[in-house]
Amino acid sequence: MPGIVSYGAYLPYWRLQRSAIGQSLGSGGGKGARSVASYDEDSTSMGVESGRVALATAPDGYRPALVAFATTAPAYADKTNATAIHAALDLADEIPAFDTVGAIRSGFGAALLAQAAGGLAVLADVRTGRPGSADEASGGDGAVTLAFGDGNEIVEVLGSASVTAEFTDRWRTPGESFSQVWEERFGEHAYVPLAEQAVTQAQKATGLALADVDHVIVTGPHTRAVKAASRVIGARPETLVDDLANEVGNTGTAHWALMLADVLDRAEPNQTIAVVLLADGCDVWLLRTTDLLPTRRQPVSVRQRIASTRDDLSYAQFLTWRGFLHREPPRRPEPDRPAAPPSARSERWKYAFTGTRDSTGFVYLPPSRVSLTTGEIDHMEEVRMADVKATIATFTVDRLAFSLSPPVVAAIIDFDGGGRFQCELTDVDPDNVKIGDRVEMTFRRLYTSGGVHNYFWKAKPITVTPDGGGR
């Protein structure tokens, strides 16, 4: 049975101190901070970033059987979002890519699908609510990719159990930017017996009681029900995994996997892990780490990522990025929507960030058919630059250009081993950019025009470095 062969978590650069909400609105907010997807990020782009991490640490020659993408905040309906992730991860055409979107439980469904086939489960979310709401304060943004395969597992799946129930606890009609919830005590009443039932089933299937499990992850959108269920499922209190509420917030479909990634960052070989997800029923997964785990942890841990974020985002900026505050734009035309035919023709460039290299080694970004040095036509090899690091050759702060978050910082970057490219910098403080700064590429949603999302790559300062593990 396929297990997890690698995993990758992505958290955005920005976090919002919950106290900033209270300071602006006069009440609410609370303690700690929540993660915030930047103005140029969405569930698709964050999914790509987590997928890059997982693939970078997957076993040599790993080829996923499929891509299953889950989010409550899909960038598109009708059109599959997983195809953009598939393209940006430079996966082979023959690998299918599916969305399982809409509900928080979809994340677990995507994982079951990916596990059965030996593929990628890409779980990403942007969670928010009306200004001043509990959802706004307690939500978080982020993404996790779990890569499943047969052989070379770092985590084995011991067994699973699911219980399904139809009741109205939390809902959102399509098109709404916020969710609604029923009275809190009703949800607790509904969820706790479901958790008990699913845990009992899983125990029967595996012979493993939660009391004997080393790390117990209990999560779901209903905080009160999660707390109540945690007390009755038989887990020892010290084995309950921290829910990252204080540092990140609840990342929706991705949250159980984010907690799992946090566990895998530090778990020992041959430890058992339980995942208990309370969402429109209850799903339970019982897992065991293998001897390979220490050799293939993600290079940058969840905690390290949290430590390298900035948490001084203003609440006004947060509201602007999430579309709740419409601010005066620069007196410049909005960009046209990217056209479908040229975008399709340049898929290898636009999504996989693949340029060309001529016989003299000159790298062309964007790809060129004609050599600048020899004049030869089509004597080129493809070269994927998405994971190559670069150095800022020069830059400028453009206060006139259209942006959802001005000013634009534009840079000329030189890649290690050749190749120059002009692009926007993101996750950057305009006052602290220097020539010679090191940058890496990141997949972003540049803007949306005419309902079409313009996905492409930007560069960002290298702010997180490996803290051990991985390779």
Binding site: P330, R331, R332, P333, P335, D336, R337, P338, A339, P341, P342, S343, R345, S346, W349, K350, F362, Y364, L365, P366, S368, L372, A393, T394, F395, T396, V397, D398, R399, L400, A401, F402, S403, V408, A410, I412, D414, G418, G419, R420, F421, Q422, C423, E424, I435, L446, N454, F456
Partner: protein
């Protein structure tokens, strides 16, 4: 490269130029009528005498009908050309070649741009349908890359660099203050320039050329016919136009301290005109000062200053109106304004005015002292990826 030039084959016998500025009350048609009428009048001809037309505009109209409709041109060839900010020069160059080829006796080159109707700040260009991967930097942002690169390469500290750029803007405003057709007709104190709100990188509002409306036109005939139309024609000594491979943004060896296209077009033009020492031989130059660091770098690319020394020459006043080689005596793009399609012809209009001794308060002394050639330089695109035009004109045929 074979570039034979058409030295002294054709001559300008009439010119016209509207005032540049925010012409809320005048349309593209109005400006075309005004500039063409002034040019025809100055050549003592009527529209019927013109055999063919070259119209330069980047975004104020499509096709030759943009000119033939308002002027009611009676079934004659009108060619529309576009080459970024060098559009006006490109109209002029092709018109000159048409006369030199013998195809026509009398032609008009006219440029026009109506920028202020867009409602946006700065220049707005609508690209063709594309994949959305092109960087969205504005013109000031692209050109702002020159300043820190130049300062770093030649060891100019940031405060000195700011002083250099400020002095260029100050000089061009000072010149423009003497020009009744300029968009901005007042001197601006250096402190105001240096402290203006930032637009991109180190560039403030006053480091940027004026966004404006305007039109300019020239009448061109064979050199041997010139005196039939004008008692003081200008002879075309050189026309060079270069499009680069746009390698700057992809070539790690490009350092943002030069425009290779300008260097090549200047070399070509000097060779065509037989000029060996431009700084000594030219009476004046109109150059493409779209942003202050552009003018600085052009002084070196055009051979007016040694590499790495233009900033000192700027501070020493070499390019002032009363300096050794006056640059942008009409105020340049900075203060005359920059209606794209008209700018190249506007530069020639200043050469026309100065070489004929008609520049009034801003008349250059070196012309009276015997220097008889002027250079115009027009650039389109951005550093590392541009087109460059250089013309040299003089008021007497070479022996």
């Amino acid at each position: 490269m074979a570039s034979h030039g058409i030295r002294d084959a054709v001559a300008i016998v009439g010119m016209g130029c509207t005032a540049f500025g925010e012409h809320w009350d005048r349309s593209t048609d109005d400006m075309l009528i005004e500039a063409s009428s002034e040019a025809l009048k100055s050549a003592n001809i009527t529209l019927d005498d013109v055999d063919a037309f070259w119209l330069g505009t980047m975004g104020s109209g499509l096709s030759g009908l943009t000119l033939s409709r308002p002027l009611k041109i009676d079934h004659k060839p009108v060619t529309h050309v576009e080459n970024f900010c060098a559009t006006g020069s490109e109209a002029f160059r092709n018109a000159c070649y048409a006369v030199a080829s013998g195809a026509y006796d009398v032609v008009m080159a006219i440029g026009v741009e109506k920028l202020k109707d867009s409602g946006y700040s700065g220049l707005v260009v609508t690209p063709p349908a594309n994949d959305g991967t092109q960087a969205t930097v504005t013109a000031p942002a692209s050109f702002s890359l020159l300043a820190p690169a130049y300062a770093k390469k030649y060891g100019v500290d940031p405060d000195e660099m700011k002083e250099v750029l400020t002095r260029i803007a100050w000089k061009n405003h000072k010149n423009g203050a003497l020009n009744p057709r300029a968009q901005f007709r007042k001197e601006v104190p250096k402190e105001t320039i240096a402290c203006s709100p930032l637009v991109a990188g180190p560039l403030g509002i006053f480091d940027c050329s004026g966004v404006s409306d305007g039109s300019a036109a020239a009448i061109i005939v064979r050199a041997e016919d010139a005196h039939k139309y004008s008692d003081h024609p200008l002879y075309v000594k050189a026309l060079s136009f270069i499009a680069g491979p746009a390698a700057g943004p992809i070539d790690p060896n490009y350092d943002y301290t030069t425009f290779t296209e300008v260097v090549r077009s200047a070399e070509d033009a000097y060779q065509q005109a037989g000029i060996t020492n431009p700084r000594a031989e030219l009476a004046m130059a109109e150059v493409h000062d779209c942003f202050t660091p552009t003018e600085l770098v052009l002084m070196e690319d055009l051979g007016f200053a040694e590499r790495g020394f233009a900033w000192k020459e700027v501070l020493a006043g070499t390019f002032d109106l009363d300096g050794e080689l006056p640059v942008n005596p009409d105020g340049g793009l900075k203060s005359f304004g920059h209606p794209i399609g008209a700018s190249g012809l506007r530069m020639l209009f200043e050469a026309w005015t100065q070489l004929r001794g008609e520049a009034g308060e801003r008349q250059i002394k070196s012309i009276a002292a015997g220097k008889r050639k002027a250079l115009t330089h027009n650039l389109g695109g951005s550093p590392g990826a541009c087109v460059s035009f250089v013309a040299i004109v003089g008021d007497e045929p070479d022996a």
